[in-house]
Each structure stands twice: as C-alpha cells, then as structure tokens.
C-alpha cells in the first residue's frame, strides 16, 4: 500500500486529492493536510466583497467530503519536510501541527511515499507597511477578507447616501504583486454597485497597478481578435475602465499605506501619494515558509525551495535576460529535481521567471507583476500531478504520461462586471498558451485563433454557471470527474 500526502486543500490540492483517490482506490492511502477547515471557490469572493453572495455560498466543510471519499484529513499546518527521513523514520515525512479539534497544538510526523506540495501562497501583507485587513486596506483573497471588505464598503456607500464624496482605490498593494484580474474585477463590481445606487457623482474610483501597461495581468499582456482587429489587451482594459468611470495609475509600486493615503513609487523613480476612503489592494505572494531537512536534520531549504519560498520543480531556473526566455523554461510535470517522489502543484511551484518583462526604477525598486498561477492552471496542474503519481504507484514505473506546461495550456479569465441575469455582464478573455511562446508564435506570442476578448451578459452567465459547476465538482458529487478544470 502506498501513501500519498497532499499539503493544502485549495483549488490545486483539493483537485489532486480527489483525482488521486479516485485513481488509486481503497488499496492506497491519500492524506490531506490543511490548516483550513473549509474549501473556498476563490473567484466568487469578489461577489462576497460587494455583498452579492454570502460566505456560505462560496465555501463548504472539507471533512465530510473527504470522509465520503475515503481521504484522511488532518486539519494541521505543515511545518517542515524531511524527504530523506531521519534516524527515527526510514521514509520521508512531514512534521505537522494541529490547529483545531482535540489535538490542537500537538505536533506529529506523517510519513509518505509521495508528497504533493499544494500549499498555495502566503498572503504577504507584511511586505507593505500598513497593508491588509488588520490595518488600513481591504482584501478579497479569502472569503473572510471579502466579507470584511463588504462591511467596510457598506460604510462608504452609507456615507455617499448622506452626500459625502468617497475615493475608492483598487489594485496591487506591492510592487511585485500579481492577481491583477481579481482586483480589476472588484473595481468593476464596485463601480457597478455605485451606479446601481445612482451614487456615481459622489464616487471617485481609481485603479492602481504595477503593470507597465494596463492589460498586462502578469502574463506580459496579450493580443485579442476583436471587431476585425488584432488588439492589445491594453486597449481592451482601458476601454472597460473608461466605460465604468474608473481612472488609473499604472507603473506604480505601492510601498506604504496609512489610514488615509497610499504611498507609491512609479517606474521613473518619483514618489507619489494618493488619498483614499476605501482601498482594496492585493498583497504580494510568497511561499508559506516551510523548511526542509535531510536525514541528519541539516537544513536543506535552499536546495528544495527557491528564494521566494516556492518549491523548485522541473523548470529551467538559470537566470537569463528577458530576450532569452523560452517557453521550454516552464515545468511540465512539477517534480522536484532533488527528490523524485516530491511534486509541487498550483501556486506552490517556483516559476522559472516572470511572464511580464522585469522593470526597475532608477532607485532600484522592481515594479512589475509576478506570474499568476491561480484558478484554471492550478486545477489542471493538480490533476496531472495526481494522475502521474497514481500511474507511478500502479505501474511501478518512473515515467510521467501526463504533462501540463503553462507554455502549452490555455486559460480563460472571466472578469465579472456587475451581477444579475439581465444586467450582469462580464469580460471574457482567453489566451493559449498562458506563457507566450515567441518561437512557435513569432507574430503574437500566442495562438491568435484561440484568443478571445468579449464583454456581455454571456460572460456573466458563464461566471455564474462556473460557480455552481465548480462547487458541485469540489463537493465530489455524482460524476464530478466529468467536469474539466
């Protein structure tokens, strides 16, 4: 009997757990270790943040789902990985600390034959002074953050109803932050809610971003086929913002926030300030800070993890200039180059480099988006990693029949811009592949035939449809495996 341990129960970890158990059956053990008791469908947090959904609609308890599937679930925090074991353990193991229940606070070790690290990111609010829901800004990164953002947004709306002007500042809260898509979506939804209440004359809504040009979204921008033209996403994004009455500040690295102002540096090296009444700024992401030790309990964290705390996998990490980046630098099977029974899935893997061109101000501040790996790619990676592990266990072979390079897989981004079957709209963008491949597609970097950029009710229906479909799938209800990532 083999034992597969999965760290994390987000989109990638949860998908990996369900796929692994389905493929391996009762003969093998699948263990999920996560400090969270709930699964959350992160894309719908935006709707929680504007009061259109309750937190219960975007989350559910993990324990009953895992019990039904025969997956062992430990609500605990993974502290360290010991891939070689040690004097007390022959096999590789993970040390964990329980965060809830009878065992709360207790530490134990969990050995494994295969380890899938899908811990996701640490929301690094501490990297920007004054950032975060405990300080001066809001967040929609988790359902409780989004609920808190809605409480604060209501206060601003109430003030506007009394005739008070309000400035909303939405965007990235760190010079290297990613997930522009989520922040962009939140800005559009705030504008929609303000207009719905006929308060737009009193609202000053701003988008602040570390992108060189709007529409970069951490993937170096894209070209889309639209109205008889091949159009850069810059045009598409600016047009949507203008339509929703949102002004923008680009090339901005937010460095500090206080109760009333955001302090940021632009790529020219100048320092600026922007006042706000309500701010939702996405933090920088980092690895969760797990350590790794060898059989002699020597620290090998640098060998297993990259400097940002994400796990190294089968990518080409040799530093090289932007002009020399290749699609083949990106990993295909997400296997650790040091320990062949360890994999990293979703946001937990260290990308070889960014997708957007690195930029630096004359003061040395790096201001550009880091690569997004959320949603669809996370789910796909979780699926193929679990499928490969199951293949290795069942056949005893070391090959990997399943591959999913971000330089080969496509993705869709559905940015809702309002809610309601008739009034709700969304911008739908698809790119294929996610990482530009300038060798294969020298003209546009991607397959232009697969690239879409449209706005309309259909997008909103899709977003709603996907919410219910993916919640159904994550609950592992009948025929869940038929639904693709």
């Amino acid at each position: 009997m083999a034992k597969v341990v999965i760290l994390g129960a987000g989109v990638s970890g949860h998908t990996a757990a369900l796929v692994a158990k389905r493929k391996l059956g009762k003969q093998h053990e699948v263990v999920v270790i996560s400090p969270n008791s709930n699964y959350q469908w992160v894309p719908s947090n935006i709707w929680v943040g504007v009061g259109l959904m309750k937190t219960d609609q975007v989350k559910f308890k993990l324990a009953p789902v895992y019990k039904k599937q025969g997956i062992i679930y430990k609500q605990a925090l993974a502290l360290s990985i010991h891939p070689e074991g040690n004097k007390d353990n022959e096999k590789g193991f993970v040390s964990i600390k329980y965060v809830a229940g009878e065992k709360e606070g207790k530490e134990e070790t969990v050995d494994y034959d295969f380890l899938i690290n899908a811990t996701g990111p640490k929301l690094n609010f501490a990297a920007t002074e004054g950032l975060g829901p405990d300080k001066y800004t809001n967040s929609v990164c988790t359902y409780d953050h989004a609920a808190h953002a809605w409480e604060n947004l209501q206060k601003s709306l109430e003030k506007m109803e009394k005739g008070e002007k309000q400035t909303f500042l939405i965007g990235t809260g760190h010079p290297l932050a990613t997930c522009q898509g989520a922040a962009f979506e939140y800005a559009l939804n705030i504008s929609f809610e303000v207009n719905k209440r006929k308060l737009n004359k009193l609202a000053d809504i701003w988008w602040i971003s570390n992108e060189y040009e709007l529409g970069d979204f951490g993937m170096g921008g894209a070209y889309i086929k639209r109205n008889g033209y091949i159009t850069p996403t810059k045009i598409f994004t600016e047009s949507i913002l203008k339509e929703y009455g949102i002004r923008w500040i680009k090339r901005a690295g937010v460095k500090k926030v206080d109760a009333k102002k955001v302090y940021y540096e632009t790529l020219d090296g100048n320092e600026h300030e922007k006042e706000f009444d309500f701010a939702m700024l996405i933090p920088g992401f980092a690895g969760v800070g797990m350590k790794a030790f060898d059989e002699n309990d020597e620290d090998i964290t640098d060998k297993v993890f990259a400097a940002n705390g994400m796990m190294k996998v089968d990518a080409e990490y040799t530093p090289k200039p932007y002009e020399e980046w290749k699609a083949s630098d990106w990993p295909k099977i997400y296997q650790s180059p040091v320990y062949d029974n360890m994999y990293a899935s979703g946001i937990a893997f260290a990308p070889p480099h960014t997708m957007s061109k690195p930029m630096q101000s004359p003061n040395g501040t790096k201001i550009f988006p880091t690569p997004p790996r959320t949603g669809m790619p996370s789910g796909v990676i979780g699926r193929i990693v679990a499928a490969n592990v199951a293949h290795r266990i069942k056949t005893g072979k070391k090959d990997h029949p399943h591959e999913a390079s971000m330089a080969k897989m496509g993705a869709a981004c559905i940015v809702s811009a309002g809610y309601g079957l008739i009034k709700g709209q969304a911008a739908v963008m698809t790119v294929n592949p996610i990482v530009q491949d300038w060798e294969k597609y020298p003209k546009w970097g991607r397959n232009i035939k697969d690239t879409v950029g449209v706005v309309g009710s259909a997008g909103h229906w899709m977003k709603l449809f996907m919410h219910y479909m993916f919640m159904y799938k994550a609950k592992a209800k009948a025929f869940w495996w038929v639904i693709p990532e």
């Binding site: 737009n200 000053d204 045009i235 600016e238 047009s239 913002l241 203008k242 339509e243 009455g245 002004r247 923008w248 500040i249 680009k250 090339r251 632009t266 790529l267 020219d268 090296g269 100048n270 600026h272 004359p362 669809m376 796909v380 699926r383 193929i384 029949p401 399943h402 591959e403 999913a404 080969k408 897989m409 496509g410 993705a411 869709a412 008739i422 009034k423 709209q425 739908v428 698809t430 294929n432 592949p433 697969d450 879409v452 449209v454 706005v455 309309g456 009710s457 259909a458 997008g459 229906w461 899709m462 449809f465 693709p484 990532e485």
Partner: protein
C-alpha cells in the same frame, strides 16, 4: 529609456490631476481621453439575448477545447 518613462509618467500624473476634476468632460491629452468607448449599438449587443446565448455556448465550447488540449 528611463527618460521616456519619466516623461510618460509626468504626463500621466498631470493628466490624473486633470481627470480628477471631471468624469463627464473629456480632458484632451489625458490617458483617459485616449481610451476607446463602446457605442450604443455595441452596448445593445452586449445584452442582446440571442447574441449572448450564442456567445454563451460558443465561448464555453472554446474554453473547453483550450483546456482539454492544454494537457495530456
């Protein structure tokens, strides 16, 4: 290159201050003024049921193809 950044961003900041005065009025040379805007007809098509119903199935199919083709 850095000088170009400086000029662009100085203009950007200037335009931002100008834009803050009015949303309705187009401020010439502001970055806001260079953005495209949909016409009434385009806005109508965005909520036109038959067109959007076609889009719904077309886009779902397109996304499904991209996802399935993207991994083995």
């Amino acid at each position: 290159m850095i000088q170009n950044f400086k000029i662009n961003i100085d203009n950007n900041q200037k335009n931002i201050r100008l834009m803050a005065k009015s949303k309705e009025k187009t401020i010439p040379y502001s970055n806001y003024s260079y953005a495209t805007e949909p016409t009434k007809f385009v806005r109508f098509l965005r909520v036109c049921f038959s067109k959007q119903l076609f889009h719904f199935f077309h886009l779902n199919l397109k996304i499904m193809k991209i996802v399935v083709r993207g991994h083995s």
